[in-house]
Symmetry: D2
């Protein structure tokens, strides 16, 4: 290693893939190699590669031409090195020790982790073991705390909105109810944003339990006004008030979520469609967007956000500021202690202006 190398950083991408990962890797890599003369170690397949020590030194060539590509050149995995359970003593466990060992062997000054909730929680725990970490918020769900937006989110909004646009024409031609199920188990950001952008007549999110009867009334009202078709956008995790209450009861009783235990439990979209047909008699069709929301070329917005997050991380590295997550807050790229993010989920606040906005243009949330 030449003397001029000031620092050695490792990068990994963990969790579900997401548009903008490569743009962020490029941002980190170009800034680290270019201005600061750092060394950049690419770690394969998320935390898995840090356990099995699958790494390679990245060069300028690796960062060329990847700004616009989907996926991640490093590969990803859902490996979670810490055993589950809140009472866990973070210093124990075999995998964290192996990671710490590899971190030292690689001579890393810092580990940059590109990922969502789980990834950043793991990163925080690694920092508690004495490693330096920096997190970049990546998630199409936009449910990371302390940042207004994560990269990947707006690409997913674009994809989901385009899908809703397509379904509009079919709905109108056949006078049908079209239900679109979008991602979001815990948080409804994607359903809310794509629902408003796509002109959804009904939007259902996990934060607002819905009553099928309220939805039915809304749809029938539209039909009465001559609008014989409707678009219903539903997040994966949206629940009727009845199901939400049952879930709550089960949680208290310590039971596992009933639906989770069934491997082929009907999706929220199919469940909802059955409820709508039952209540209204209107012909209803379901589309589940699924993996389409994760893949493909990142939108310009996400390329920008990922590049900005990447270079901000390198600025922090150069200053020796560690154990923080880069965020976009109040219109600015900045950073927060990573512990403020770990283990938390950013929900859509019930009084969020965009919900009020959606209600004002006539959207039903199933709660009135």
């Amino acid at each position: 290693m030449p003397k001029s190398v000031t620092k050695v950083i490792g990068i990994l991408t963990a969790g579900g893939d997401c548009p903008g990962l490569n743009a962020a890797i490029r941002g980190i890599g170009k800034a680290a190699l270019g201005k600061y003369g750092m060394q950049v170690v690419g770690i394969s397949s998320g935390y898995e590669g840090l356990i099995s020590n699958q790494t390679r030194l990245l060069t300028d060539h690796d960062f060329s031409g990847i700004l616009t590509t989907g996926g991640t050149i490093l590969g990803s995995s859902r490996e979670k090195p810490f055993a589950k359970g809140e009472s866990e003593d973070v210093s124990t466990g075999e995998k964290p020790a192996i990671i710490h060992d590899n971190y030292r062997k690689l001579g890393l000054d810092c580990l940059v982790t590109l990922g969502g909730n789980g990834t950043q929680t793991t990163a925080f725990r690694l920092s508690q073991l004495g490693m330096n970490v920096l997190g970049l918020p990546k998630t199409i769900d936009n449910d990371l705390e302390e940042t207004d937006v994560s990269f990947g989110f707006h690409s997913a909004v674009d994809i989901a909105t385009e899908a809703i646009d397509r379904l509009h024409t079919t709905a109108a031609s056949h006078n049908r109810i079209m239900v679109v199920e979008v991602m979001g188990h815990k948080a409804g950001w994607l359903a809310l944003f794509s629902g408003v952008a796509g002109g959804g007549d009904v939007i259902l999110i996990p934060e607002i339990p819905y009553k099928p009867s309220v939805i039915a009334r809304h749809l029938m009202n539209r039909a009465r006004l001559g609008k014989r078709f409707s678009i219903v956008v539903v997040a994966e995790g949206a629940l009727s008030t009845k199901d939400a209450e049952e879930k709550e009861r089960n949680k208290k009783k310590g039971r596992k979520d009933k639906n989770k235990s069934k491997p082929h439990a009907p999706s929220s979209g199919y469940r909802l469609a059955a409820e709508i047909e039952e209540h209204t008699g209107l012909e209803t069709r379901v589309t589940v967007l699924g993996y389409l929301q994760r893949g493909g070329i990142p939108s310009p917005y996400d390329r920008l956000m990922a590049t900005r997050f990447g270079t901000e991380a390198v600025r922090l590295l150069a200053q020796g500021k560690y154990n923080r997550m880069v965020v976009f807050k109040n219109g600015e790229v900045t950073n927060v202690p990573i512990e403020k993010v770990a283990g938390r989920t950013k929900h859509v606040p019930p009084d969020y202006e965009l919900i009020e906005c959606a209600r004002l243009v006539g959207t039903c949330f199933g709660d009135e």
Copy 2:
């Protein structure tokens, strides 16, 4: 009706909606009103509107701005006025008589029917009752006989290919098998075209029954060569040799298709994914494109084809040539007797050059 009106034509759009319907309506309308001074009657909701007499005179204003819009301004339905059964006497039945009556009351010189197999078969039967008809081939399945291409098909190919592109990045990031189910119950055109355009590693179509073991071997071979992910494109109607044989046996015995009788039979995609996981142990995920393939803005190719078909229909009308379907054959817009199309399905020939082409670039069709 002023004297200058040479002819009165009715237009209807029937069956599933499809990109290009409005472009075709515009092509017919502009040509009929403009050069030939015909009158154009729009019939609502396919044959349903011809039974219930829901019609209105269309003006130049109706044809403005619709070249680029999805769906159909006339609405559609799946109404089939003739009772099923080949032995049917076409002159009987209440609905055909009502249609004939309305045809006369509207003073139609010809009925232009935009639709697929079912629609054109009905049109043919109406022609046998003495009505003049002209068919325009519309179907995203491309399974109409006598025409190389129907409008709607290439828009669907574009949508399915874009979806495959997206799934590629996720497949690569996670080393997964991604199964994409595209439309096509009887014919594999859409799966074949989008599969080759999207670089599918496996393409399964109804015309070629597959062996799960052959697919598994192909996927494992790829994995051995370091290609740890694969894209599998499967038509709705693709069957394994075993299922195909059972279907054939049941058909002979006069039994209903086993799967058809089950309302929630697993789709071909989910069935296949289970087979792949069983044979290979590789992580496999499924995406069902469904209604996304029908909707949205027609591609330039389909706008062109629809416009060309529409104006050709009017040229035929002007010449008093009826009971034909407009087609694109050997690189030219032309027309054939509609009886040659009725009741038939255009399958992918097993020796089709594109299948050979796909095999040459390494695609597996599951048939050794």
Copy 3:
């Protein structure tokens, strides 16, 4: 007018057209008619229609299906009712008086103006004459003060970035310098955002005068590293230091801008290409995006922003808060006094984080 009508509002769209105008009109209209029972008067062709009194009452039907359409259903014009000159007494002039008169005749409680700098400056002056106004920031240039973003901007970023993506492949295949000229006479937001999102090797904006020799050195350096092609993104208003100084001198002398006086002055793109070829000898090609940046379907981001701005305007109306511009600031939809916006231009600050970010990934701004 029934008693239940609480307020009557007029809407106009002025200045260059821009994606999201119809979404904003829909947002205002649906909120105003739906919850608040207001009446909405549509004014044709910007301020021109307010002078010639071309207006019509808008109904729910007018707001249906326009969320996704480009352009403006009201039409636009560049009419500026106030004569130029800062010393102008706003109370004089024929056109403002006519506008005031029509405002009263229409019984307007408020005039909602969708537009950019010029539009909002006019709106402010009208407010000084005693009319109530509310401004919505619309501009693809993003140069309105007091708001982080205007609707239309991100759609333009998407279009320009897609164009840069396309040119990348041609540049690489032919080892060429591709110059892309994007909009922005005074402010470089669009060039900066699309330039970073598109991976521009050189980005030139009005706020940072450039030296051709610095650009030439950067391009030759890339060529030496084997990167024989480059992408140069240049705002319409970008100037070399020499031209910037001459402009400044002329301004002081009270002379008109030299280039402005020539009807066919070469665009910034063509000027720059000549400079690059002269300094480097590298083959250079120019693309001027022009009107492509204004048109077409608004992006989901802009549909959201426009809808949010529209409903916020109606909330302000309901509260009787006038003479404000709706803005997006610090991640929130809010509003500011319209006088804070009038007559000002939001420039890219030289120390803006995104400029620093771009430099870190290797972008040259021509200023050493």
Copy 4:
């Protein structure tokens, strides 16, 4: 070279870049390496690389992931090894001799040339010198004889049509004439196809000289019917009857084309806009699409066509059929003697059905 290698083929891409080149290279490469065990030599930068002997052996890895990418992995150039002049003796000249020499040194059994008119004419001449060649028709202009379509054409149609769609909204908002200049110096295919797909009100192509007065009358007629905006699509090489006659006269006199001699002659779009404004007084704006039409991801249609052409070439190679060009004719992939293509241009026939179709939907070609 192992015994199993049956043949060695060289590939080059020449002329302007074009979507689908990489898909074709992949089609050739995968088929040649896979089933037939041929060796594939990639030649850099078109004929230039065959003169300077810049080549490399391509492996399966080179063909991976390029189906969807724009440009060409081999690079291109406009090098024409034969000196101009029809009277040329093809056996003389230094460059052809060098090429022949390199062809032998590389041990090529055949040279596969991906390109347009010029490229295939050169290939034909090389075949006359004793080399084996196979041509693949690549051109966004679609002006190669003997094939209904070349790959690249439909991607360009898609791009141009999308641009026209965008300009439509601006035209409508501002009541303007929008002139769009698309590629096509000698043939009007691209203008015609994108013009009809985009709903162009006027389409001007080199094959039909236009009268400005006829266009003006058409535009004024539209304005009188309340259609105050219009879209005019013009090919680069479209000429007014006056200019066409002058060109013809100059040609006869042996003079160079007047416009060609001027380096900055106004484009057909700007010339036309001036004519329109002069004749109508209507506000007219110009957009020149230029290089945007060449770049970017190939459309599914072109990926298919390029892959089919590539595998067909390898089938011919395997059979020892040389000196042919692969074509798509009468709905089938087939091939013709390359001499039938060399030196010819496929023009739009004046009685082409699509021209008649366009006239029927109201398009003016400026010739009546």
